[in-house]
């Protein structure tokens, strides 16, 4: 199967037709599969370049969420006295910071992926979707490193994960797809409108306060939950706390809304990206 797909794109004597594309074409996902080597390599490059010539190296992947956790614990846990659903505040925050940091890093990475790789886009062909995809993939390594610390903290606080831990990959996937969907919009817009690079830091900050990172969803009034669920990251973070820390299960209807929102973001993101794709090399 794989061989067939590869031959279709790289085989001897295969035919390539080059013509103006029209309208909203569908994505050629088989082509992306054929280019998976490149995807892997670009993701690997991101990771390996990120910590080159830094003394702490991957330590930073741990240090960042840990420091944020300390700050949150002091400000929101102690000073503001925000409730943490009966959990120790540090682990309550850290458990949310993991998917959140992954998400915000992937979002800003993928928003910059096209403009930041203009030297590739203007010189060589490959499916452009590879670029934002590689950015949301490379963040997984930092996530995994920071996750080990979470396990250690759980052992320290003597918190056992629930069976819900089996659903953790699903929550992670939702975070990934949300970052990708929003990233597709932003990165395609960024090619034409460099305003995006000013919007993204603000957007991530805003998005963080709209997600239950520092506080618990239980603080959100019941009648606003519907609106709150539109933010897929709310579902993801609540899902993490449920699966790992045994917090009460997340609101089912909120999860459904979150999933619907994810699908919408991804689908429209793909469409917009595809529509703009042909002009990337000309205007980037």
């Amino acid at each position: 199967m794989t061989q067939q797909i590869e031959d279709r794109y790289f085989g001897v004597g295969h035919r390539t037709l080059i013509k103006p594309s029209s309208g909203w074409r569908s994505f050629d996902f088989r082509e992306i599969w054929a280019y998976r080597d490149l995807l892997g390599l670009l993701a690997w490059r991101d990771i390996s370049v990120r910590y080159k010539q830094s003394v702490a190296g991957f330590g930073w992947a741990v240090f960042q969420p840990l420091m944020t956790m300390v700050i949150f614990t002091i400000i929101f846990g102690k000073f503001a006295g925000l409730p943490s659903d009966g959990l120790p505040y540090p682990i309550f925050a850290y458990c949310a910071l993991l998917p959140w940091n992954y998400f915000s890093q992937s979002l800003s990475g993928s928003s910059d992926s096209l403009v930041g790789s203009s030297y590739l886009i203007t010189k060589v062909y490959f499916p452009r979707l590879i670029l934002p995809l590689s950015r949301v993939t490379s963040g997984l390594v930092d996530f995994a490193v920071a996750f080990v610390i979470l396990l250690a903290m759980m052992a320290w606080y003597r918190i056992a994960p629930t069976a819900g831990i089996l659903l953790l990959p699903v929550f992670m996937l939702v975070a990934m797809v949300t970052a990708l969907g929003a990233g597709l919009w932003l990165t395609a817009l960024n090619v034409k409108y460099r305003d995006v690079k000013f919007v993204v830091p603000f957007l991530t900050q805003f998005w963080m306060y709209a997600s239950p990172v520092a506080y618990s969803t239980s603080l959100v009034p019941e009648r606003w939950r519907f609106l709150y669920g539109l933010n897929p990251m709310a579902g993801v973070i609540e899902g993490f706390r449920w699966a790992l820390l045994g917090k009460s299960a997340p609101d089912f209807s909120m999860m459904v809304i979150s999933l619907a929102a994810v699908c919408l973001i991804l689908f429209t993101g793909l469409l917009y990206f595809k529509r703009m794709e042909k002009s990337f090399a000309d205007i980037v």
Partner: protein
């Protein structure tokens, strides 16, 4: 059997759009229009503030040709004629606006050497990265790795980050990866213009090998010598259209002919110039200081090249330097006569005037040459005109025997004496 078929290919650029636009510009335009409408009691007049009109520009139009398997074809033409656009369409980097192209076979395109090289990564890592970007499979790179490293002559430094490489090593490694691509069809853009002469020669050799293996090569170049020796066929593109397709010899002579014609246009009317335009060259004349007729320049004669200029802005022009490049007909740079080499700077330029270059002895062998003019003010380029004029140098008795170097005996003449001791 044709492996590349190009049919009425065209590419249009909207000039205003080329560098992207700011969202704010659009928004403010829309807002202005809205307020305007409100102010005039709802009279909708869309033309009040139109978006800046976008000029269209066809970088390529009506281009059709076929290339058969195993042909090595050169693409020549002036800068901005659309050669690179053609290559970019064929390598699917950008989409055509009209027409289509069909390609049978695995395409390798080389618009630049070292695409995707990352300075922080080691030579080894970059070979894999660059190879994959150019479309090689990982197993393929592994197989050829030693060969690539040997070709680049960087064995000792292969695990050093490439940011510590000398520029020569960097280019060699980058080209080595590209040279080991094994596509059926290779699209190459002017990449040979990098590296030192010895390495360029090696690359040309490699290109020749590729051609002998029966692969199809499309090769954009300014180096007519390379095109003539590598390609049996050439395509001359002018202003986005195919001006000639034929044997490379014929096409090159046609191209050179066109070039010398265009250079006779008065400099004042030339628009294909770059620089900030504060000082502009408006004329150029070459005169012999010796001969009966100053129009004819002979080898070895005392010659002056006078450039007329005009200052186009109100301020003072100081620290002005001027250079004339002398290129042969196939654009080999023979010599650059830059006033800065002699510490000659000009101050307080008049509104109009001449800058004159005195050459005591013109040591070029007979033939035709292109002159490029560039003028700099405070180290900023004011004006640059390529092929500003053609200089015809006639045979003259320079050496005592009356002989002149021919063929591979060099491009310049030089006073010398042999003696025995």
């Amino acid at each position: 059997m044709p492996v590349i078929r190009v049919d009425h290919l065209g590419k249009k650029y909207a000039l205003g759009q080329v560098h992207g636009d700011l969202l704010s510009e659009r928004l403010s335009n829309n807002l202005r229009r809205l307020f305007d409408r409100l102010g005039r009691g709802g009279d909708p007049s869309p033309r009040a503030y139109p978006l800046s009109p976008k000029e269209e520009f066809w970088a390529l139009r009506d281009v059709s040709f076929e290339i058969n398997q195993g042909e090595v074809v050169g693409i020549i033409g002036r800068n901005g004629a659309g050669k690179t656009t053609l290559l970019k369409i064929l390598s699917r980097i950008t989409e055509p606006t009209e027409g289509y192209a069909e390609i049978y076979g695995r395409v390798g395109s080389l618009l630049e050497v070292g695409t995707g090289f990352h300075p922080e990564l080691t030579g080894r890592e970059n070979v894999f990265l660059n190879g994959t970007i150019l479309g090689m499979k990982r197993a393929e790179i592994r197989k050829k790795f030693d060969e690539i490293v040997a070709f680049a002559e960087v064995e000792k430094f292969i695990d050093t980050p490439v940011k510590r490489y000398s520029s020569g090593m960097y280019v060699r490694l980058a080209f080595a990866v590209a040279a080991h691509l094994e596509p059926e069809i290779l699209l190459v853009d002017e990449v040979l213009a990098v590296g030192d002469a010895a390495f360029q020669k090696k690359c040309l050799g490699k290109m020749g090998e590729v051609a002998k293996e029966g692969r199809t090569v499309l090769f954009v170049s300014h180096n007519m010598g390379a095109v003539e020796s590598l390609c049996e066929k050439a395509i001359y593109i002018d202003k986005g259209r195919v001006a000639a397709i034929s044997s490379s010899e014929d096409v090159i002579s046609r191209y050179v002919n066109d070039l010398s014609e265009s250079s006779s246009v008065a400099l004042r009317l030339r628009t294909d110039r770059i620089g900030n335009g504060r000082i502009r060259a408006t004329g150029i004349g070459v005169h012999s200081n010796e001969a009966v007729s100053s129009k004819v320049i002979r080898v070895g004669e005392s010659t002056s090249i006078a450039v007329d200029y005009e200052v186009q802005w109100e301020g003072k022009c100081d620290n002005v330097t001027i250079a004339i490049d002398i290129d042969d007909m196939v654009h080999n740079r023979i010599v650059t006569l830059w006033s800065k080499f002699n510490n000659e700077y000009f101050f307080n330029l008049k509104k109009r005037g001449k800058l004159i270059c005195e050459i005591p002895e013109l040591c070029l062998r007979s033939g035709s040459y292109f002159l490029n003019i560039s003028i700099q003010e405070n180290a900023v380029l004011s004006d640059y005109i390529r092929n500003a004029c053609v200089l015809d140098v006639e045979y003259g008795k320079y050496y005592d025997s009356g002989m002149e170097p021919v063929g591979g005996q060099g491009f310049i003449l030089q006073r010398f004496h042999w003696k025995m001791e």
